[in-house]
């Protein structure tokens, strides 16, 4: 009797113990396993990210019209109203420009500058006017000056001044002003394009400008290479430092606040183009046709070397043809020699062929050759401007530009560039964040750590503040915010920590868990089953 009592106690103990361990496993073990195998993800502001594309894109620009034409003085209010009306017409684009127009009579200082030059030397007037008051970005002064010959035309200065020569007819002047503002000064279309390219550049119809120019980056590495295949024949020298300091430095300095252009130079000997040019027997000249050009770059490129930085590289090559292939020209589709003797490869750089002047057979070798900084910089400056998407203005009979010359870039162009890059950055950054949010929904094994979460939040914050700055006309701050936004969002997307977990298909997970859990779970489950059976047994009254 006592023995069976003892047995009963033992069984009860066993049952309680099995159940206890089972319950501990379920209460502590399962959540612990769940927690520790979970993909770590900080909560991201998903709603904010999806709302970013709903924020209207608006930018404000100040336009000040100053009349120097006495005949117009009585019509200033009318000009103001009509111009404002013209400029605020709906455009149906996803980005809306807003203009704040003021119209006023000229003040004494301005009048006297004009009188001094008698409206003739607009370049100089432009310069003197710019000294009157500190330059203000995103604010454009348009001077209405009496026309000398009764014709309407526009002169765009280097600073923020434009000059519209008026013939007194309001119905002609006002449309001209609004057209100039929209198409030449602000370049509304280029803003629309920048956004479009940053957003949906996958349309199979490529757009030339977007394909050619490099995307915004905080810095670019520019390398100038002088390629001399026959240093034994040509003793080539170039003063690249001076050329860069004279012709390129102004551009670099102007952009310094926004992007760093780092400049290197090198000289390569014994590197050839490796493609034979065609020979013009009559003129004893050699030439490459347009279809030959794509194949010229690769053999040179492999020897250019790589830079240590991760900035995009732009290469500019001056090639001195070999003696047996001189003079060497580039011919276009129509078989006409290209005056600059150079070509450009989009997002890569440019090549210029520099022909050595003819020399006598009896001249002692090596023949000294000097590469003029001016000649190469004319070409390379043009190419750099194209590659950086500083859309070159085109003069027409109606609109004239003051040439930028050694300045490299005019203030107005910087504004256009800033505005375009700002929108490009914003569109890219918004896209990146939205892609990231979408990928997190699609792919379960992406890890988001705390610092990535804060990068995403920073990007969202900067995007919002940049848009706010744009709508109040603060271009520089808007640009800097957009720059921070793109840096933060790129960092968030490309951070190595996102890839800490590799993908495992479900069946492989079983393969990992079974050997781990099976040895523990089989005795546990059987013991629990026995325990449950025992409990059921004790509850039933004994019948025997």
């Amino acid at each position: 009797m006592a023995e069976s009592k003892h047995e009963e106690d033992e069984k009860a103990n066993q049952a309680y113990a099995a159940l206890g361990i089972g319950i501990i496993c379920i209460i502590i073990g399962v959540p612990l396993w769940w927690k520790t195998t979970e993909v770590y993800r900080v909560q991201l502001p998903y709603n904010d990210i999806s709302d970013l594309s709903q924020i209207p894109l608006v930018y404000l620009t100040d336009i000040e019209v100053i009349s120097l034409d006495k005949k117009l003085d009585s019509n200033l209010v009318q000009i103001s109203q009509q111009l404002q009306e013209d400029l605020s017409r709906k455009r149906g684009e996803e980005v809306t420009p807003i203009y704040r127009v003021t119209v006023r009579e000229s003040v004494g200082d301005e009048q006297s500058i004009f009188n001094k030059y008698d409206n003739k030397d607009l370049s100089n007037i432009d310069k003197l006017l710019s000294e009157l008051s500190p330059l203000q970005r995103n604010k454009y002064l348009i001077f209405l000056i009496p026309s000398n010959n009764g014709k309407l035309n526009v002169f765009i200065g280097k600073y923020y001044n434009s000059f519209v020569s008026s013939n007194g007819k309001l119905d002609k002047i006002i449309p001209l002003i609004s057209k100039t503002v929209q198409m030449t000064i602000v370049k509304e279309q280029s803003v629309v394009k920048s956004i479009f390219n940053a957003k949906g550049a996958r349309s199979l119809k490529p757009d030339k400008e977007s394909m050619r120019s490099v995307r915004y980056n905080t810095g670019y590495d520019l390398t100038f290479t002088l390629t001399v295949p026959q240093p034994d024949i040509f003793d080539v020298s170039w003063n690249i430092r001076e050329a860069v300091d004279t012709y390129l430095k102004p551009l670099v300095d102007h952009l310094k606040e926004f992007t760093q252009l780092k400049i290197n130079s090198q000289i390569h000997y014994f590197t050839t183009l490796q493609r034979k040019p065609q020979k013009d027997e009559k003129l004893n000249e050699y030439y490459f046709l347009e279809q030959d050009l794509p194949h010229l770059i690769n053999p040179i490129e492999s020897t250019l070397g790589t830079s240590a930085s991760n900035n995009p590289e732009l290469n500019f090559i001056v090639y001195i043809p070999t003696r047996d292939q001189s003079p060497l020209y580039i011919k276009d589709k129509n078989g006409v020699k290209v005056p600059t003797n150079s070509f450009l490869s989009p997002r890569w750089g440019g090549v210029m062929i520099f022909n050595v002047p003819e020399f006598n057979e009896s001249t002692p070798l090596p023949f000294p050759v000097k590469v003029e900084g001016k000649n190469i910089m004319e070409v390379f400056l043009t190419q750099i401007r194209l590659l950086l998407n500083l859309n070159s203005p085109t003069s027409s009979h109606e609109v004239w530009f003051d040439p930028v010359e050694v300045n490299g870039i005019s203030n107005m162009e910087i504004d256009v560039w800033l505005r375009n890059r700002c929108f490009e950055n914003l569109a890219t950054s918004i896209n990146t964040l939205q892609s990231l949010a979408q990928l997190l929904g699609q792919i379960s094994n992406i890890v988001i750590k705390d610092d990535i979460g804060s990068q995403v939040e920073a990007a969202v914050r900067e995007i919002k503040s940049s848009l706010k700055y744009l709508s109040t006309g603060n271009l520089v701050d808007a640009f800097h915010s957009s720059k921070r936004a793109i840096i933060a969002s790129e960092k968030a997307f490309f951070d190595p920590s996102l890839l800490e977990l590799l993908y495992f298909p479900e069946d492989q997970k079983f393969a990992i868990y079974i050997p781990l859990f099976l040895p523990i779970s089989i005795p546990l489950i059987t013991a629990m089953m026995h325990a449950i059976k025992w409990f059921k047994g004790t509850k039933k009254p004994k019948t025997d």
Binding site: K208, E301, F343, Q438, Q442
Partner: protein
């Protein structure tokens, strides 16, 4: 007034401005000589057709050219008659030996590399890049083995391509894989603008071409052997199309059935040039006019 009207011609003929290639051999050891020969065959071709080394990411898991068992050091041949030395004299391997891992491969594709990674080991492609991805090794249904230790699954690869697409890291992508049951590698793809070809259907083995008795191992795989034969006939300005390339190695040559996937690809492969993926025909633009600069008198010193 110094800018003359620039004539806008159709300078850019195709939708891409640059080409990239990611070429991966996933297996090591001497008996896998053929996989190294495979990857070097494609490397040789893309380089010959114009993709510069800076735009090629070459991952080779073992060094066959300098293997002590190689009777002809510093060479890797594509056949027993030693027609083509695919090793060439200028090979730039970006990831080698134990660096060839699933993690590194996925990191290269998605761009999630540590900041210290040099340029040459990065895939710096953009939304205007056409990318060729070639993989070879030992595979099975839904995976490709890396280094006998791990494997990349087709889901993982599809997800990596989707991340590339989302971040605009390619314009069009051509995926080429030579392994057993290779078709399974592209079955899970779901991102647009991908054209894929595989050496064998699911359930089939991909076979090697022939043995070189001097090496004692198989020299090359059938599919890549015939692909190389086709590519060797192409010149840098070639007008051959991808449509033709996809028909390379019919069943009587390959024994396995070459599988193709075109549903994600927007264009008709018959109208896509081979060089859109295997070469690099750069777009160029002739510069007809330049800015005019004043001649600022220079000092007499000239650096050399």
């Amino acid at each position: 007034m110094y800018y003359l009207q620039e004539k806008i011609g159709e300078f850019f003929k195709s939708g891409h401005t640059n080409n990239w290639a990611v070429l991966v051999d996933t297996s090591r050891f001497w008996f896998n000589y053929r996989h190294v020969a495979n990857v070097l065959s494609i490397y040789r071709s893309v380089k010959r057709l114009g993709i510069p080394d800076s735009h090629i990411i070459l991952m080779v898991a073992d060094d066959m050219a300098c293997n002590p068992r190689n009777p002809r050091p510093a060479t890797v041949f594509n056949n027993v008659n030693q027609h083509i030395n695919v090793y060439g004299d200028d090979v730039e391997v970006d990831y080698r030996g134990y660096e060839v891992t699933v993690e590194n491969f996925i990191r290269v594709l998605t761009g999630r590399l540590p900041p210290s990674t040099p340029r040459s080991k990065r895939l710096l492609s953009d939304e205007r890049s056409n990318i060729l991805v070639y993989m070879t090794g030992h595979g099975g249904d839904g995976f490709l083995k890396f280094q006998d230790a791990e494997e990349v699954s087709n889901v993982e690869l599809a997800d990596a391509f989707e991340q590339m697409w989302q971040k605009r890291r390619y314009h069009e992508l051509f995926f080429m894989v030579d392994t057993c049951q290779a078709q399974s590698m592209f079955q899970k793809f779901y991102s647009p603008n991908i054209l894929a070809v595989a050496s064998s259907h699911v359930g089939e083995d991909s076979l090697s071409h022939h043995v070189d008795p001097a090496l004692g191992v198989y020299v090359i795989d059938r599919y890549t052997f015939y692909a190389l034969e086709f590519l060797e006939k192409a010149k840098p300005g070639s007008k051959k199309t991808m449509g033709k390339f996809l028909k390379v190695c019919p069943k009587h040559q390959c024994i396995s059935t070459v599988a193709v996937r075109t549903d994600l690809f927007n264009r008709n492969p018959d109208q896509v040039l081979l060089t859109d993926f295997f070469g690099s025909v750069r777009n160029v633009e002739i510069l007809s006019h330049s800015v005019l600069l004043p001649n600022i008198t220079s000092k007499s010193s000239h650096c050399r």
